[in-house]
Symmetry: C2
Subunit: 155 residues, 2 copies
């Protein structure tokens, strides 16, 4: 255990040296928070998507739980999670384009569209597989609209 | 960048070998999800706690935002995040005691107490510094009650 930790520490130190020109987004609590929120979206979307694609048996109760959590998460106030200076041009460890901070009204509208699509999924998810499937399109579209405009491609 | 990634990969491989006896909780989506939820509690509690302790100027609007998010997060249905076999005796990377799985009614009650204390904070946070401070005690108590009973001490 100790040697594993030492190795991880060494890797972290090498990383810190190699990336010295930039702050590390993973060490920024606001960046970490927004990435955790996105990851929790993905956790719940994974369940809904697996059911929609027939990779997991449809379960109305589980689908509703996942969709309810997703609706709550997409309704969080994220204003504290996007401080100025946390874009991909300013730090490592984030793919958030600087355009986010010059287009707040549009970013907010896209976030609202995601919350609305999640709320629609919450209402649809327990109503049968076809109902769930029909709600997946707008939900995936809302995710993609924001990523396409405001997230750097993976390098 | 490439060499940093290679180093991190090497460390991950060494870690995987050293911990081969146990699954890695960090690679388990459910464990990751519950840890992210806890970390998001801490993110918002950090703001409320800093104001309560005078380390940050009291700001009614920001306090209400943080408390509203905390109330939403503590109300999430976590049943999908605690599958059997994800206790600290079964895998690395989690401090969740096996007692959680043999005491679900009590764990649920403690979770409900946290959600209730968070809802009370949501109502109190915007009502002035003393109002926020008064709501911190029950909130911290609810966190601690569950950690004391069901979380392994840091090793």
């Amino acid at each position: 255990m100790f040697s594993v930790r030492k190795t991880a520490l060494a890797a972290a130190l090498i990383g810190a040296t190699a990336g010295a020109a930039f702050a590390d987004g993973h060490a920024n609590p606001a960046v970490k928070a927004r990435q955790q929120v996105m990851s929790l979206y993905a956790f719940h979307l994974g369940t809904l998507g697996a059911m929609a694609q027939g990779k997991m048996d449809y379960d109305a109760e589980m689908a509703t739980k996942a969709a309810s959590n997703l609706a709550a998460l997409t309704s969080l106030d994220q204003s504290m999670m996007w401080p100025a200076g946390t874009d991909s041009g300013s730090m490592e460890g984030t793919r958030a384009k600087a355009e986010i901070w010059s287009n707040f009204p549009d970013v907010g509208a896209k976030g609202k569209a995601l919350a609305d699509a999640s709320m629609a999924m919450k209402e649809a998810a327990g109503g049968g597989l076809e109902s769930l499937q029909a709600a997946m399109g707008p939900l995936g579209g809302a995710c993609g609209a924001c990523h396409k405009a405001y997230r750097e491609p993976e390098s």
